[in-house]
Each structure stands twice: as structure tokens, then as C-alpha cells.
């Protein structure tokens, strides 16, 4: 059992951190929401009502979509773009989809390779793009969920201030939606770009996200 926990440390640790911080967000969000209600003479809401509100749903989904966008773009971009000296980049001569031999496909697949890596048809096309496909699908679905929740919240505020409500399609053109979307995207792009260039010159001993401490600055993708 201890061995099994050790072998799954990353997914267990980050899964637990996710659940703890999501609970913290919901509790802090409920307090903020109720404080605002108090100031404006509105009704207090229970924790469950707050968790099931578009206000919390929108806040959660807008952060989820930006994270999945970040990884989707990172997965796709690192097929075709490189950064000399970066741990986040492939070697400069490996740009593109790479050979069947290097990707261990078809006849080059080892005995214990995933079954679909050995196939030659549509199944392999699906499987060789499955990581990007999954991340991109979650991105688009969470972005949709964000838009629906933000739209409900937007209309509720419009009603509270005697403003006109808008359709969902119209809301997609509102600055409110794009401000919420782009504020998340910009931070993701900055973080990805920073990792791409910081790992050229900076190190963390022992981390899979860093080159070995003694690796020369011009060495590209030596632990990635």
C-alpha cells in the first residue's frame, strides 16, 4: 500500500490540494457574497445554495477553462515550436510529429506498447492525438459552462439594477464575458512563457521541471 501511494504521489497530492482549495474558495466566496447581500439588504444564502449558484460556478469554470487552455496550447505548441536551451522544449532538430521509429509506432512499437499505437488506421490517429483532444475538449466544455454561469449572473445584476437582460448569444459579445475570460488567459500565457525561458538559465535540483543543475544553458530539453 505504501508503495502504491508513493507511486501516485503527484496525482494524490494535487488532487487533495484541489479539493481543499475548492472548499476554501466556496467558504470564502459564500462569506463575501453574504457580506454584499447584507450591505444591499438582500437575503443571506447557505453554503449549499452558494455552491449551486452561477456566481460560484462561473468563478470555478473560468479558472478551469484557462488551465485546460494553457495545457492544450502547450501540448500543441511544443510539437512545432522550440526554445533553445529550455527544459520545456524538444531538441531543435525534433520539430514536428517525428518519425514512426522515434514515436515507437506500428512495427517500431514494443511488445508492451498501447494496443492502438501498434495499429495503422483511424484508431491510431485518435490515440496519437488523445492527450491534446482530451484537454481541448475539457477546455471548450468548461468555457461553455463559464459563459452560461457568467450570463446568468450578468442578467441577475442587470435585473437588480433595472437594466435590460440579454440572451446567451448576446452575452458572448459583452465586455463582461471577455474581461473574465482574458484576465485568466493572460496569466496562463505569462506563466507558460516564463517557464519556457526561465528554465534556460535557472535550475531546481531534483525537479523534473528543471534541467540538471550542471546542464549548460544551451542544452535544450535535457529532462523534458
Amino acid at each position: 500500500m505504501r508503495r502504491a501511494l508513493f507511486e501516485n504521489g503527484l496525482s494524490i497530492c494535487f488532487g487533495a490540494l484541489f479539493l481543499i482549495t475548492l472548499c476554501g474558495q466556496s467558504l470564502a466566496g459564500q462569506r463575501t457574497h453574504n457580506a454584499e447581500q447584507l450591505a444591499h439588504g438582500g437575503d443571506q444564502v447557505s453554503w449549499l445554495d452558494y455552491v449551486l449558484s452561477p456566481s460560484f460556478g462561473g468563478a470555478v469554470m473560468e479558472n478551469w477553462q484557462s488551465e485546460f487552455l494553457q495545457f492544450s496550447l502547450f501540448i500543441l505548441a511544443t510539437v512545432w515550436l522550440v526554445q533553445k536551451g529550455s527544459n520545456e522544449s524538444k531538441p531543435l532538430d525534433s520539430v514536428g510529429l517525428e518519425s514512426k521509429q522515434k514515436q515507437r509506432l506500428e512495427g517500431f512499437a514494443p511488445e508492451n506498447a498501447p494496443r492502438w499505437a501498434k495499429s495503422r488506421g483511424f484508431a491510431r490517429l485518435v490515440y496519437e492525438n488523445s492527450l491534446l483532444t482530451a484537454m481541448a475538449l475539457v477546455f471548450f466544455a468548461t468555457w461553455l459552462a463559464q459563459s452560461l454561469n457568467n450570463w446568468r449572473e450578468f442578467n441577475a445584476e442587470q435585473l437588480a439594477h433595472d437594466g435590460a437582460t440579454v440572451s446567451w448569444a448576446r452575452y458572448l459579445w459583452e465586455p463582461d464575458f471577455w474581461e473574465r475570460t482574458l484576465q485568466n488567459w493572460q496569466s496562463e500565457f505569462l506563466a507558460v512563457g516564463t517557464m519556457a525561458i526561465f528554465t534556460v538559465y535557472l535550475r531546481q535540483r531534483g525537479s523534473a521541471e528543471s534541467k540538471p543543475v550542471g546542464a549548460p544553458h544551451e542544452e535544450t530539453g535535457s529532462s523534458g
Binding site: 501511494l5 507511486e7 496525482s11 488532487g15 484541489f18 470555478v60 478551469w64 475539457v138 459552462a145
Partner: protein, 35 residues
């Protein structure tokens, strides 16, 4: 690799998908229904 260890890897993979799917489904329903 011991069979028991591979089981937890598969379980974690499934759990992550379940959390993502549950969150998505919940807030798509909330977004579609809550006035």
C-alpha cells in the same frame, strides 16, 4: 510492476476524469437552469 500498484494508477486516472466530468455537468446544469 505489482498488479496492486497499477490498479491505483488506473483509479487515480478515473477519479480525475470523474471530478472533471462532475464539475462540468453540475455547472452546465446550473448555468442552464438557475434564474
Amino acid at each position: 510492476v505489482l498488479p496492486g500498484n497499477a490498479v491505483l494508477v488506473r483509479t487515480m486516472y478515473t477519479l480525475y476524469w470523474m471530478v472533471i466530468a462532475a464539475g462540468l455537468a453540475l455547472y452546465i446544469v446550473v448555468g442552464l437552469t438557475v434564474e
